[in-house]
Subunit: 210 residues, 8 copies
C-alpha cells in the first residue's frame, strides 16, 4: 500500500471466512497499519465480530476496520441527498477516515429543498474536499459545486426506479454537471470517492499542520 493508505479487502463475492483470513493476514503483515474491508454481508460481520472483537464494524456502511487508524489530516465533508443514500455515505465516511482524513457527515439535503442546502453551506465551506452523494437525477453536486470552489467528488447512487436504470440517470447527470470541476465515481462507489477525497484532504491538511 502507498504511504498513508490502509490495506483494503473488497468483500463482494468473498465468503465470510475468506474475508476473515484476509483481515487477519494483512493485519499480521502490517500490524502498524489499518485494514479496511468493504461490501460485507451481515454474515461476514457476525463472523468477524466473533473472531476479531477489537475490529470496528459499521453495519450501515457494511465495513470493518481493523488495526490502528492513521492520524487524520484535513477534513472531507460527506453530503448526502437522502436517507436512502445512507449506506453509500457511510462507506465514503469510513473510507475517508481509514485513508487518513476526518469525515464530516451532512445529511438530508436535497436539490428540491434549496434553503436547507444554503443553511448547511457553512458546515462544508471550509472543508478540504467534498463528497456529494445523490440518486435519482443526481443534481446535488451541481448545486453544491455552484456554492463553493472546493474539490468535489460526486457519487451517483442506484436509488430510484424506472428510467433511473440502476443509477444511470444520476451518473449521466453528474458527468454533465454544469458546475465546473465536478468529478465522478462509479454508481454507489462510496469507497472510491473516499479514497480520492481523503488523499486530497490529508495532503492539504498535512501541509497546513492540521
Amino acid at each position: 500500500a502507498r504511504t498513508g493508505d490502509p490495506e483494503v479487502v473488497y468483500g463482494a463475492g468473498k465468503t465470510p471466512e475468506q474475508v476473515l483470513t484476509l483481515l487477519h493476514d494483512l493485519h499480521e503483515a502490517h500490524p502498524d497499519r489499518a485494514v479496511l474491508a468493504t461490501r460485507l454481508t451481515p454474515e461476514a460481520h457476525d463472523v468477524i465480530a466473533a473472531a476479531l472483537p477489537e475490529a470496528t464494524l459499521d453495519a450501515v456502511a457494511r465495513t470493518v476496520t481493523y488495526g490502528p487508524l492513521p492520524e487524520p489530516h484535513g477534513t472531507v465533508a460527506v453530503i448526502a441527498a437522502g436517507t436512502s443514500d445512507g449506506p453509500v455515505a457511510a462507506e465514503a465516511a469510513v473510507t475517508v477516515r481509514a485513508f487518513g482524513a476526518r469525515a464530516e457527515r451532512i445529511t438530508d439535503v436535497g436539490v428540491a429543498g434549496i434553503h436547507r442546502i444554503l443553511e448547511a453551506r457553512p458546515r462544508f465551506a471550509d472543508a478540504d474536499a467534498l463528497i456529494v452523494i445523490a440518486g435519482m437525477e443526481g443534481a446535488l453536486p451541481s448545486v453544491v459545486g455552484g456554492l463553493v470552489g472546493i474539490p468535489l467528488v460526486a457519487v451517483p447512487t442506484s436509488v430510484g426506479y424506472g428510467a433511473n436504470f440502476g443509477g444511470l440517470s444520476a451518473l449521466l447527470g453528474m458527468l454533465n454537471s454544469c458546475a465546473p470541476g465536478v468529478v465522478v465515481v462509479n454508481i454507489d462507489n462510496g469507497f472510491g470517492a473516499g479514497v480520492h477525497a481523503a488523499r486530497i484532504a490529508r495532503a492539504v491538511g498535512a501541509q497546513a499542520g492540521r
Copy 2:
C-alpha cells in the same frame, strides 16, 4: 382544432413551398384563427416573409404565426438555464401565446447559481404554469419545483456533449426529478411544453377572469 387551439404546421422535413401552401390554406379555411408553423429553416422563413408579409416570424424560435392570435388568459413562466437553450425557450414562448396564454420569459438562471434562481422566484411564483428548460444534467426543474407548487413542465435540451448523448442525460434527470409533480416532454420539444402549459394557464386564467 380544439377550442382555443390554433392550427399547427410542423415544418421539419417540409419544403418552404409546402409550408407556405399549408399556412395559406389553413388561414383561408380558418381566417378567424391563428396558424402556427414550427421548426422552419431560414429558407422557409425567407419564402414566407416574401409571400405573407403580415405573418410574424421569430428567427430564434424558428416559428411563424399567421392570422389573429387568440385573446390570452393566464400566464406561463418560461424559465431557461442557459443561452444555448434559447431556441427551445423561444419555441415554447411562441407556442404558449399561440395557444392562448401569456408567456413570461426568465433567462440565464442555472442550478450552479442558486442565488439567481432565488432572486428570480418572485417573477414566477404567481404564474399559472411553468416551463423549465435545461440541457446537460437537466437539474433546474428539481430546484424550481422545490420552490413553488405550480404545475411544472420540464424540457430537456440536446445542449451538451459526450455523455450527454444528445439530451439523454437531461431527459433522464428530469424523469427522475425528486421534486414531486415534474412532468417531461421530448428533448428540445418547446412546442409540446407550450401546448400543455398554455392549456393549463388559459383554463385557470379564463375562470379567474384574467
Copy 3:
C-alpha cells in the same frame, strides 16, 4: 408542504416502523392536513393498520392516507389501458385525491379496442386534467390526446416483456406522441402524475367554484 399539498412519505426502502413513525410525526406536526404514504409493502400496511386504525389503506395502490383530506376542487380522469396497470392507476387516483382534486377512474380501454375508447369519451371529455396510463407500446395517450384538448399526463408502466425493457418502450412511445401537449412522468410513477394533474384540476376547479 405548499398550500393544498399534503405531507408525503415515500415508502420504498423504508422499514414499516420508519414509515409508521413518519406518518405519526407528520400528523402530529400538521394535524389539519393529510399525510400520504406510497409504495408500501404488505408488511407496512399491516403495521400501520394495527397502529393507526383511522388511517385509510389501499392495497392495490399500496398507499396510506392519514389525517383530514383537503376539500376537493376540479376533476382528474384516470384512464388505464389494462388491468395490469391497475396499481399505477390506483396510486395516481389516491394521490389526486390527497392533493385536493376528485379522481374519476376509467378502466379497461386500450388502443386495440378503439370503440371502447370512443364510448368512454363522454366520461373524460369534461375533466380538468387527464392521466393516461399504459404499458407495452404506450399508445393510449396519443389516441386520447387526439380526442380532447384537456391537459394530459401520460404514465408509462413496466407491464410487458422482452423488448419492453422494463417500460422503456412505453416511455419512448409517450415522449414521441404525435398528439400535441402530451407530457410524461417516470415509468410506473402514478404519484408524480397525480401531483401534477391535481394541481391543475384544483386550480381550475377552485376558480370555477366547483
Copy 4:
C-alpha cells in the same frame, strides 16, 4: 430468385454505374422477369433514366423497376401515418407490385385522428395483407390491428427527433403492440415489408383466382 420473386438490387453504397450494370445484366439473364432496384440516389436515377429509357423510376420511393412485372394476385393495403413516411410507403408499394401483388395506398391517417382511421377502414378491410407505417411512437399498427384480423406488417420509420433515437421509439412500440399478430421489420424497411406482404397476398389471391 424464387417463383414469383423479381431480381433485386440493393442500391445503398453502390455507384450509379454499378447499379446500372447490375440492372442490365440481371435483365439480360432473366428477360422474362422484373428487376427491382431500391435505395437509389438521384444520381443513380439520372444515369439509369438516360441508359434504360424503358425502366420505371419512382423518385419518392427511390426505386427502379425494369423488365416485365409479374401478373398481380391479391391486394396489399399500404397505410401510412404521415406525409414524412411517404418514401417508406412508396418503397413498400413498389416492392409489393414487383413481387406480384396489387398495392393500395392509404395515406394521412394517424393515431391522433381516430375518426379518419375509422373512415378509412372499408378501404383496407378486404385486403389480403396490410402494411402499416409510422414514425414517432409507432402506434398506428395497434389501432389498425384492433380493427381487422388481416395479416399485418408494421414498419417503424426514423421520422422524429430527440428520444425517437433514429426510429427506436417506433420500433419498440411496434414490437410491443397490444394488437395480436403484429409483425415488424427494420426501421424504414419498406422493401422487407413489401416482400412479406406480397408473398401473402399473391398466395391467397392466386388460390382465390383474383
Copy 5:
C-alpha cells in the same frame, strides 16, 4: 374476436383464479369457439386441470385451450434452433392450432449445423407460412429464408447470456436479416408469431380447399 380467431387470455400477472374465471366466462359466452390462455404458471395449470377437466393443458407451452378448436386450414411449419427454445416453439404451435391452422414442428436445427437444415428443407418447403425461432445470434431465419420464398416470421428468444442482453442480440439479428421478407415479433413471443402465421396459412389453405 374476429372470424376464425379464438378468445385469448394472457395469463402473465393474473392469479390462477382470475384465469379460471376468464376461461369459464369466455367459454359460457362463446360455447362454439375455443378459448386460449397463455403464459400460465404451474399453479394455474393445477387449478384449471382440477376445475375444467375437459380443457387441454400443455406444460411446455404453458397454455390451456378450452372449447372446440376451429377446423384447421393450411399448415405452419414451426422451426426451432435448440431445445431451450422449446417453450416458445410450443407456444407458437398451440397458438397456430387455436387460430385455425395446422402446426408442424421441426426441431433441433441450428445455423452451426447447415446439413441438418438442408435435410429438413423438404419438411417445410410446402408450408403456407414459417415460424423460425432462435436465441443467441438469431441467424436461423436468414438461412431458412434463403432456402424458400414462403412468408416467414422470426421469433427471437431470450436464450443466451452476457452480450445476449436478454434476447437483444437475436432481436437485432433478425431485424437486420439479409434474407428478404423476414418479419419479427417481440422476444419470446411465440403467441404473436402464431397468430400472424395462422392467419396467413388459414387464408391460403381455405382458398385452396385444404
Copy 6:
C-alpha cells in the same frame, strides 16, 4: 515491433504529411522491415504515391505498405459476406500479408445463400486461420464455424441501417455465435483480425515448413 510484425501507422486523424513522415521515418529506422499504414484518406494516398513511388497502395483497403514484406508462412482465408464489406476484407487481407502470412480472398458468400457457402468450403477448409466478415445480422461466422474446426476470427461491419445501429447488430450476433470458438474484433476492424489471424497462420505454417 515484435518478431515477424511490421511497423504500423494508424492513419485516422492524421494529416497526409504526418502519415508520410511516419512512413519515411519508420522505414529509415527499420529498412529491413515493412511499414503498414491503415485508414488512409484519398488525399493521404495521393501524397504518398507522389513522394514514395515504391510504396504499395490499396485504394479499397485504404492502406499503404512500404519496405520489404516478410516471407509468408501459412494461409488465412478472408471470407466476406457482401461487396459492401469489401473495404474491411481488403484491410484484413493486406494486414495478413504484412504480418507474414498468405491471404486468400473468398467473396460474395452470405448466409441467405447456403449453397454458395458449401461450394466455397474446399477453398477455406485447409486454411490455418479464417477471417469471416459480415454486416447486418453478422451470421456468416456461425455458418462457417459450423463447417470447419479452424481458428476463426469474426469481423462485424457497420454495413446496414436502422436497427443495425452502426454495426451493433452484427457485433452482438457474432459475440453470441452458437458455433464454438468464434472470436470477435471491433466493428470494421479488419486490421485487428488480420494481425490475430496472421500470427496463428505464420506460427503453424513456419512449423510446418510452408
Copy 7:
C-alpha cells in the same frame, strides 16, 4: 465433432438428468473421445458424481469431463486478473485441455499492479496462445498484448457493479484494445476462449512435435 474436438454438453437450462443422459449417450457413441459438460449446477455435479464415478468434476469451473482426454499439443496460458474471475478462468482451462492443448494458469495479476505482470511475463512468453480474463475495466489484455506478440483471446467477465452493466464495460474495453490483434469472446465465455486458443496451440504444437 471435428478432429481433435471433444463432444460438448452446454449445461445451462438442462436438468441434472438431461445432462447425465447426454454424457452417457455421447460417451457410448464415442468411447474413444472425451465429453465435456459446462455450466453445471451443484445438483448436476452431485447426480453425475453418483452415476459416473470415473467422470472428472471441477466445482469451480462448473464442468465435467468424461472419457479419455486427447493427447495434448502446445500450451495455452490462462491469465486472470482477480480471484473473482476464477470460475471463468477455470472453465477456460478445462476447455483448453479437453480440446487437446495444455493449460497453464497464471492468477492474480491485474493492471493496477504492473510489476506483478512484468514478473509473470516469462511464464507466458513462450505459450502458443494466451487467454486473458478480466472484469471491471477489462484492461489486462491491452497490457499483456503490449508485452508479447502471441495470439491473444480476451474474456470480459461480469465481475463488478454499477456502470459495469453486467460486463459491458470490460467487453467494450477489450473490443477497443489499443494492443493490436486482441480478439474477444462473449462475457464470461471461458469455454469459447478455450476452444479458440486450444485449436491454435494444438496446431502449432502438433507441427512442432510437442
Copy 8:
C-alpha cells in the same frame, strides 16, 4: 468567480463575436483576473487574435486566455495516451494554468507500452495531482493509478471507432477502474479535469509554499 478561479467562457455554440464581447466585458469587469475561453472555432480564434492582440491563443487546445494569469502553486501532471488525445490534453493543461497551478505534460505513453509508462513514472511521481487522458479502452488511469497514490482525474476521449460508441468504452472503463480513487469527468472534458486538479494542486502547493 471563486478565489483563485478565472472567469470562464464556454465557446461551443457561440459566435466569434459573442465570445469576443464576453472576453472583453469580463476583462473590463475583472482586470486583475484571467479570462479563459474554451472550445473555440478557428474563426473565433481569428476574430480574437485581430481584436485582442494581447490574448494568448492555443490552436490545439482551442482556447484563449486573456488578462493576468494567477501566480501558480503546486503541479499537475497531464498524461496522455496518444497523439490523437492531444487537444484534450492541451485543454486540460491550459485550464490548470488558468486556475492557478503548473501543468506538466507527459505524452505518448499508452497501456500497450508498459515500459514507457514505467520510464515516465519519475516525471509524475511528485506531482500534486494527475490528469490521465485516454481514448479507446481507457485503461491508462488504472495503470498509472497502480503506480502512485496521488489524486488522479481520468478523462475519457472520443478517440476510436465502432464499439467505442463516441467515447463510451473509455468512460465505462475509467468508471470501473480497479485502481482505487480514480475519478472521472465527461468524455473529452479536459476543462473539467483541469479545474478539479488545479484546485487540488494549488491548495497543497500554497500550503507548502511552492
